[in-house]
């Protein structure tokens, strides 16, 4: 450990690895993601699945800013995912043909909701914080279920589809492959923003909040303001993911607001490793693939997913990335 540690650059907080190794891994990741439509079908996968992995990874990375880096256990982030999805869907169904505008509006709606509601939740800590976030999430769920005329109720929201993006000089069709690249761009932008924040003074405070709120209070900081900021940022990122999810299926439903989705996002973070910047990407990769594969080969897919929850929580609390990191250290 020590030989490695001496090489650590001070400004590379979230990933405690030598910079050259980091860069190498990052380039590999980028190349792998860029070439998905080429190699994925060869392995029996399909492009929409890759889009889904990235969407859930983005959502989980957004949530992980709050969960893994600020230490706030929100069990209600499905609300912002769903609001992003509904915002985008409703825009495309009723008001605009611009996919990008719809995504922007969806992201704003979800993000602003998190910005407004975060301050309520951050008044409490611990399990109470989780409970308030669940309550808020369930409120949106039941509003979506009951407000039939606007949201489509239990049936979900249909009647919209992603529209080609017209740029001066060219048009992006947003069929399966080009949509994947749209998702990839959003994912890249989202993770770049998160990375920048985590390496900024603000991000340093987030991590410090996770570690010791009392210390920060006695450094003269109002901790709840910072948690609310983390909550809001995380809400925007999750809403962006939700917005893309609506476009992926050209559909959204109250399921996207339900606490079960919040649970799935949390387990994605835990699976991949909450303390690691790329952990949620790994977690989403594992979770989405397992869910996709298992539910097709056995009727008892719920047991398998349930076991994934239980076993990973008991045996791999640090997640896949945490596991590898620990091993490489020892």
């Amino acid at each position: 450990m020590s030989s490695q540690a001496t090489e650590i650059k001070h400004d590379a907080a979230p990933l405690q690895k030598p910079a050259f190794q980091q860069r190498y891994a990052f380039i590999c990741l980028a190349v792998a993601l860029l070439t998905v439509p080429v190699w994925l079908p060869l392995l029996g996968g399909y492009t929409d699945l890759a889009s889904r992995v990235l969407i859930f990874a983005l959502a989980a990375m957004g949530l992980n800013l709050l969960l893994g880096f600020t230490g706030g256990l929100s069990f209600g982030h499905a609300a912002y995912f769903g609001l992003g999805a509904y915002g985008t869907g409703l825009m495309l169904a009723n008001y605009t043909h611009s996919t990008l505008l719809a995504v922007a509006v969806g992201t704003m709606i979800g993000g602003l909701a998190a910005t407004l509601l975060g301050p309520i939740a951050v008044r409490r800590r611990g399990i109470y914080f989780s409970m308030i976030t669940i309550a808020i999430g369930q409120m949106f769920y039941f509003i979506a279920v009951r407000w039939n005329s606007f949201t489509g109720g239990e049936d979900g929201l249909t009647g919209f589809s992603r529209q080609p993006i017209h740029m001066p000089g060219f048009t992006i069709s947003l069929h399966t492959t080009s949509f994947y690249y749209l998702v990839l761009v959003c994912f890249a932008v989202g993770s770049w923003i998160l990375w920048t924040i985590l390496n900024s003074p603000l991000g340093h405070v987030f991590v410090a909040i996770r570690e010791n709120q009392k210390r920060l209070t006695f450094l003269g900081i109002r901790v709840d303001v910072y948690i609310a900021v983390s909550f809001a940022i995380s809400g925007f990122v999750v809403a962006l993911a939700g917005s893309l999810d609506a476009l992926l299926d050209n559909f959204t439903s109250p399921d996207n607001l339900k606490y079960t989705l919040s649970g799935n996002l949390l387990i994605i973070c835990v699976l991949g490793g909450m303390r690691n910047f790329w952990g949620p990407l790994v977690g989403a990769f594992i979770f989405v693939l397992v869910q996709d594969y298992i539910s097709s080969i056995t009727q008892n897919w719920m047991t398998v997913i349930g076991l994934v929850f239980v076993l990973s929580v008991i045996f791999f609390p640090l997640g896949a990335m945490g596991f590898f990191r620990r091993r490489s250290r020892s």
Binding site: H10, S200, H204, K214, R215, T217, F218, G220, I221, V229
Partner: protein
């Protein structure tokens, strides 16, 4: 003008009186020890001064202003910084990161979601400076939670210094340390007081340190003030000897 003045301060918890009618003053530049047996009210005194909770009676003045109902965050900005009996640092972060976040908070840039090269350089310089002052630079990249108790204490002092304290409250800075660590901490306390010119109020059980370092000593017993004076005065005080030193010996 005195830096800190307590007048007739009491603090009660329900039926229990933790502090009763305490008056004391601390002059700028002073290095003051607070001693007393367990349950004497030392930590309660620190909690009152640092704004953890308000006094039940009496007044507390800092720098000429009353600070009885002021919350800790504001007091920190006024220059009252404390450490805790149980070390309060960021265990999963490196020493460097521990102090960096404190520096960024102190510089008032902690709400910035990005940082430019110039600011980063300024932050770095200040962190390096603080690590030099507390003599922990050689362990900058160690994860705090994996270090010895003494080193963690030192980190905590480094964090506290980031805010340019006028009054530094140290709650049992050497508790649980070995000899070498204790010496290091003692030297640090002395040098902070003498070279950095920081007024220090510290709670301590180790009489060698108390008598070797402190300019003046305040003795608490059972919530009341038993005595106050220089090391020699306290050592010679028969009431202190009876109530406290006698016991200890």
């Amino acid at each position: 003008m005195s830096l800190l003045t307590l007048q007739n301060v009491s603090r009660r918890f329900g039926a229990l009186t933790a502090l009763n009618n305490i008056s004391l003053t601390v002059e700028p530049g002073e290095l003051r020890a607070v001693i007393g047996p367990n349950g004497a009210g030392k930590t309660t005194l620190f909690n009152l001064i640092s704004g953890f909770f308000p006094p039940s009676d009496g007044s507390i003045m800092f720098d000429g202003e009353p600070i009885m109902a002021v919350n800790p965050a504001i007091l920190v900005k006024k220059g009252i910084i404390r450490t805790f009996q149980i070390t309060e640092i960021f265990l999963d972060l490196t020493v460097y990161e521990n102090i960096r976040v404190a520096v960024e908070v102190a510089m008032g840039i902690s709400l910035r979601p990005w940082i430019n090269a110039a600011t980063r350089a300024k932050v770095n310089a200040r962190v390096e400076e603080l690590m030099e002052i507390v003599k922990i630079s050689h362990k900058a990249d160690r994860v705090a939670g994996e270090m010895s108790h003494g080193d963690q204490r030192v980190v905590e002092v480094g964090i506290a210094l980031s805010r340019h304290p006028k009054l530094l409250l140290l709650d049992e800075p050497t508790a649980g340390m070995g000899d070498e660590e204790t010496n290091h901490m003692t030297d640090l306390i002395r040098s902070l007081n003498k070279t950095q010119n920081i007024t220090i109020l510290f709670i301590e059980h180790d009489m060698n340190i108390v008598f070797g370092v402190a300019d003046r000593i305040t003795v608490l017993d059972n919530g009341t003030m038993l005595a106050e004076g220089t090391a020699k005065e306290i050592a010679d005080n028969p009431r202190v000897q009876a109530a406290y030193l006698g016991q200890a010996a």
